[in-house]
């Protein structure tokens, strides 16, 4: 396996360009470095190139311009494809499209089986992976009878069983109901707390506010990049990019317009705290 040259840099996009048809560039000069252990949220409206970007991280798509390196390995190097894919696992949007087996344990074991993990270690990996996503004891259940949120967690377990260091979620919550979405987010936060690098593609702002970095794409370019409190508070710019700022930011904005001196908050709790302080000191 290729040794990683730059250990703490997990993902490195250098002037990456990509086009499906040779004319319109879906990715257009992306420069992006993601460090170990970070939780990055990639936002953008439909057609902004966010899913295309995600597919570059585990070599499902290869750049036409520039380069993408994962753990220092170039995604175009055929010898490192399985190294990259097993270390940067991906969960897709539609829960029904990505489960290969009818029984949960067989689905979770699919990745390790492909990697040639010895049988005696496999069982343990499956059990652990299911426990990590809060589905202990689901081994013998059928994938088909699960709720959407549970299916997505099985998909995450399938990735975790390959023992990756990066988890990419490509709009994985888009088709879930609020309860399923919350469950998925909780799992991601827990994994991140244990040191997993998370790259989450989404257009839900509540998810973005939990990340420690937000990257907003527009027409294949990076439009905004920074911590949530810096990016998500730019209410008007976000609206221009077909996105809507989180509720707390919008309310802060409305209050400022009405002459109430509050800061722009991303978190509802922070806004509430400031309001209480401001309004109860009469």
């Amino acid at each position: 396996m290729t040794a990683a040259a730059t250990e703490d840099i997990h993902i490195d996009f250098e002037a990456t360009g990509f086009t499906y048809d040779g004319e319109a560039f879906v990715l257009d000069g992306i420069d992006l470095v993601v460090e170990e252990g970070s939780f990055v949220c990639i936002l953008g409206g439909n057609g902004s190139g966010k899913s295309t970007l995600a597919k570059h991280i585990n070599a499902l798509l290869l750049p036409d311009e520039g380069r993408v390196a994962v753990f220092g390995a170039d995604t175009r190097d055929e010898r490192s494809v399985y190294f990259i894919r097993s270390n940067a696992g991906m969960v897709f949007q539609n829960p029904d499209d990505q489960l290969v087996a009818s029984l949960i344990e067989n689905d979770v074991a699919f990745g390790p089986e492909n990697l040639g993990v010895p049988t005696d270690k496999m069982r343990q990996r499956v059990t652990e992976a299911l426990a990590q996503v809060g589905l202990q004891g689901f081994e013998k259940r059928e994938t088909h009878a699960l709720s959407g949120g549970q299916k997505q967690r099985v998909a995450i377990a399938g990735v975790l069983a390959m023992d990756p260091r990066i988890l990419i979620l490509d709009e994985a919550s888009a088709m879930l109901d609020p309860r399923g979405r919350r469950g998925l987010l909780r799992v991601c936060c827990e994994l991140n707390a244990q040191g997993m690098t998370i790259v989450m593609i989404t257009h839900f702002m509540e998810e973005a506010s939990l990340a420690d970095r937000v990257v907003v794409l527009d027409a294949g370019r990076i439009a905004l990049d920074g911590v949530p409190s810096k990016v998500l508070t730019q209410t008007e710019q976000l609206a221009g990019l077909n996105l809507q700022a989180p509720f707390a930011c919008r309310l802060s904005g409305e209050l400022q317009r009405r002459g109430v001196p509050v800061a722009t908050h991303v978190s509802e709790d922070d806004l509430k705290e400031e309001l209480c302080r401001l309004l109860s000191k009469t």
């Binding site: 499902l60 894919r85 991906m90 539609n94 990505q98 290969v100 390790p112 492909n114 040639g116």
Partner: protein, 266 residues
């Protein structure tokens, strides 16, 4: 709702624990045994064994019959064929060129029972074996033919995925059907009445959906490092055990008994 042929019925019975390769081969053997029964006596023995297998697998017979569901239609059709085309003995009733005779009824009942037993025993295989195990078993059994260019692994993978998507497509077809009915489509009289348009209104969405699923599924498999059968390991490697030998013994006994009944004069 929609009956699907022998969907897996989770359990830990001896039948569930048997090696799927052995089960596949023995299921084939059981079919041969059922075909070798020449009289109702033989079928009675077969029935006793098949019901015994169900008891052993702890699957309620009602469930089995429900799981076979629509396929019983074939049984009925086959039986009716025999009523009308086999002649002999007392004629009970006739209507123009059609007549129903004693031999015809006998034959129809016999074929009906035999086919029902066959369906039930086949459903037993799919009820006690996960689709993945069945396809794995196929793969192992076909591996010797790989040297003649047969893509055993790919075939079994395809089968496994097809089976995994079957309930999904059944559900999607139901949704599409309801959506088109909501738009005034009428499939109830005859699906062909509205011409190709009606059929297309169900099939085109189903096919486009299948392609859409296939596209993402292949990406998802790629991203989980799938690269064919070479160098793959197994979560649960297959292994023959004492259970399989005992099952073989049981079915040999069944075979012998059925053959013996063939000597009972009618």
């Amino acid at each position: 709702m929609i009956a699907i042929f022998g969907r897996y019925w989770p359990g830990t019975s001896p039948l569930h624990r048997m090696d799927p390769r052995a089960k596949l081969l023995l299921a084939f053997f059981v079919m041969v045994v059922i075909f070798s029964a020449q009289s109702f006596w033989g079928l009675a023995v077969c029935a006793a064994f098949v019901f015994g297998f169900f008891a052993c697998a702890r699957i309620p017979l009602v469930q089995a019959i429900r799981s076979v569901g629509l396929l019983f239609f074939i049984v009925v059709v086959a039986a009716l064929f025999n009523v009308f085309f086999v002649q002999g003995g007392t004629v009970f009733f006739h209507f123009g060129p059609i007549q129903v005779s004693e031999a015809g009824l006998y034959q129809a009942a016999f074929i009906g029972c035999r086919l029902s037993l066959l369906l039930l025993s086949m459903s037993l295989l799919t009820l006690t074996t996960t689709t993945l195990d069945i396809t794995d078993a196929f793969e192992y059994l076909l591996t010797p033919f790989e040297r003649f260019g047969l893509p055993a692994h790919e075939l079994s993978m395809m089968m496994g995925i097809a089976l995994r998507f079957l309930p999904q497509f059944a559900f999607e077809l139901q949704t599409i059907h309801r959506a088109q009915v909501s738009r005034g489509a009428n499939f109830s009289n005859s699906p062909w009445k509205g011409g190709l348009h009606m059929v297309g209104s169900l099939m085109v969405p189903l096919f486009t959906s299948a392609f859409r699923h296939a596209e993402t599924l292949s990406l998802a498999m790629d991203s989980r490092c799938y690269h064919g059968g070479v160098g793959r390991t197994r979560l649960a490697p297959l292994a023959y055990g004492p259970l399989d030998r005992r099952a073989l013994a049981v079915i040999v006994v069944m075979f012998v008994l059925v053959l013996a009944t063939n000597f009972i004069p009618r």
